[in-house]
Symmetry: C2
Subunit: 420 residues, 2 copies
């Protein structure tokens, strides 16, 4: 029996399944967006690191390599932009994508700044710390898109993968910032108290992000991550060394190159984990789509058989089935069985959806910290007219002074500003 001739309850039963399928298909697009953003973030992290090295030293020979990295980042960016262009129309035509689209608007705004920044780096018309914080601003705006993407996903399994990836990306970004901060300190030969505090904060927050990643990741990327940690002891030794420096206890400036190479090897290894996570995410999403499509086909076939069977007896399956039961005990038991099967199917579907919803809320809770940090920054910016880096610094200082995590400091700020 064709679906449009089925009794309405069965049609709606199938429509419910189809709505799930549409949700998963939209999610596949979101996952692709996240993969493209993670590639772009990686390219920009590399470019930021090399810009830093270039601006801190005075080795003109670094310039061609930097130009190569800029070109690479530009190509990845063009790819991401082309994808976004296609996304815009589709996403705006559906409800519930407003926050994601707004985040993308902001990220694009920040990306538009890159050509100018690159020229200034090339011509050495910008101090290292300023170039660093401007690259960081662009990357932060891209990570915010991933947070929104994870928050708008409607499947618990996919969201879980997205949360693992997001936390890993945040940890990796903090490693990139640590690399930059270290290059500046080692080039100078010593770290100021402020730089030392920043290095400690970056290491602590990295550990926190990777712990969250480990909590949500599956076995394969976790094993990959264990391998990537081979650089950790060396990194830790250089971190300790940085903490022991002072104005009067300087180290050789050439350590900057060593630190840079070590951090870069570590970040490149992280990129392998990230690629693995992204691959798993895409696979998980594709598998869920295939499963749901198969279930939809099976169910459609089953229900059309029911409907055919019933229509031999009465115009409407459900009506005929129920009238048999309610009037008198059925002669052959078929009617009763049919009604039970359909009711069971509806109930099983309802229960499954409720469970999926619970699982989704619980894994989404993991995004609350990231969202709260973004919100605290936005509030600081809009209430005190701070620039974004200043807002971030204020939040970091609040965390450091109070001995709190960034998320906890953000929570207090949101409460204090009357938005709790």
């Amino acid at each position: 029996m064709a679906e449009r001739h089925m009794p309405p309850p069965l049609r709606f039963l199938l429509a419910a399944r189809r709505s799930e399928l549409h949700g998963l298909e939209a999610l596949a697009g979101t996952c692709e967006l996240v993969l493209k953003i993670s590639a772009l973030v990686h390219a920009l992290q590399k470019e930021r690191g090399y810009s830093n090295l270039t601006l801190c030293g005075d080795d003109e020979r670094l310039l061609p390599a930097l130009a190569g990295l800029s070109d690479e980042a530009g190509a990845v960016e063009a790819d991401a932009r082309a994808f976004l262009d296609g996304l815009e129309t589709g996403a705006a035509a559906s409800a519930g994508r407003a926050r994601l689209l707004n985040c993308i608007a902001y990220a694009l705004f920040r990306l538009d700044e890159l050509p100018r920044l690159r020229r200034q780096v090339r011509d050495r018309r910008v101090p290292a710390h300023e170039a660093d914080s401007r690259f960081t601003l662009v990357i932060a705006s891209l990570l915010a898109v991933v947070v929104e993407a994870a928050d708008s996903a409607l499947d618990a399994g996919v969201t879980r993968n997205l949360v693992a990836l997001l936390n890993f990306m945040q940890g990796k970004e903090l490693s990139g910032q640590e690399r930059a901060c270290g290059v500046m300190g080692f080039t100078a030969g010593w770290f100021s108290d402020e730089q030392k505090a920043r290095m400690l904060g970056l290491a602590a927050n990295q550990a926190r992000s990777f712990d969250s990643f480990a909590q949500y990741a599956q076995d394969a990327p976790l094993q990959c991550w264990e391998q990537a940690r081979q650089h950790d002891p060396q990194v830790q030794r250089m971190r300790d060394m940085a903490q022991r420096t002072s104005d009067t206890q300087r180290v050789d400036g050439s350590l900057a190159g060593l630190w840079f190479d070590l951090c870069t090897a570590r970040i490149d290894a992280m990129r392998d984990v990230e690629t693995r996570l992204a691959h798993d995410l895409a696979q998980h999403c594709a598998r869920r789509i295939a499963e749901t499509r198969q279930e939809l086909d099976d169910r459609r076939l089953l229900l059309s058989r029911y409907a055919d069977h019933a229509s031999g007896r009465a115009p409407s399956l459900v009506f005929s089935v129920q009238s048999r039961i309610l009037d008198a005990p059925p002669q052959d038991g078929v009617g009763k069985e049919l009604e039970r099967s359909i009711l069971d199917m509806m109930r099983e579907q309802a229960l499954r959806m409720q469970r999926a919803d619970d699982a989704l809320s619980s894994v989404r809770g993991a995004l609350d910290e990231s969202k709260r940090i973004d919100r605290a920054k936005l509030l600081l910016i809009s209430r005190y007219g701070l620039a974004e880096p200043a807002a971030h610094e204020r939040l970091q200082r609040a965390a450091m002074d109070g001995g709190l995590s960034l998320a906890e400091a953000a929570r207090r700020i949101v409460e204090q500003l009357g938005e709790g």
Copy 2:
């Protein structure tokens, strides 16, 4: 400047707003669905009450009036079904509507039972309490659709109105059940202990539902509700009378008609409040759509002016604006002002969306009780193979025995069955 020629950040800023608008437009459809369902529930409540009266007594003169009520309910049902038919295609083509569609499938399944039930009532081939519980099952399946509709709404203000309406509908439905239960007791001349407990439970749960309604409703429907409560003292007197009856202390059977008329007047007055709530809901939704559309138009105009202004200076607004700021202090301050305006707009939009999201989660929490009750019933049905009325009775008994509210009893059942 046409929107498609605007710089990408501005296009996405508008796309975000458009996504909000689409969400509100979909919501208008959901609100219409709820209005149609509330009309159908009201018609079925009337029909159930009259069926009860007919089956309890033996007055053949009631039959024509009952036939009239059945026809009325049938007409309202046809209207609701026509609306649902249109909804199916649209809703199934969008994500996140699966639970709503599944609920509708189940409600349609239950509605298909009505013609048979009506014939049995007319021919007196069904006991009053069974007809009553079968009508109640249909109505419960319709109320579940309203719960899902409220849960899938993306606007806090509209959800608030939906929650007020839903609680009111639940209270009104309990009043309808109390009317039926009272008719049976007064016709017999006395109430059994079980019937007395049920009457007390129905009154207590009604009070709870109306309290929740009052918490979320606006002034106009609240005033309307105060007027409708003029019947309360009389109803309370008859409730007290019912509690004093026993096998040896009977009252006159003709009190059944009095009780029925009194409850019916009360329920009709409730219908006025319900209509007022439904009207407010539709109006609120229409106002939000008009506002959002106006804001979208304003913003589009503003952004296209910015873009025009900037394109006189450089190919891309954002690029030109930022390059002015970053290179050197701007000569005329225009560039800086433009960048600030756009950034402010993005941030204001992001903050507004975050706040709306918080408000939405908090008002949605009010639906948790209804959802938990449905879930506990589904679990009882699927674990113990209970029929739906038996599951409901089991839940009610658990509440009564433990001195708990239905919601609290449901919470314990969900926990016990390993789903907490």
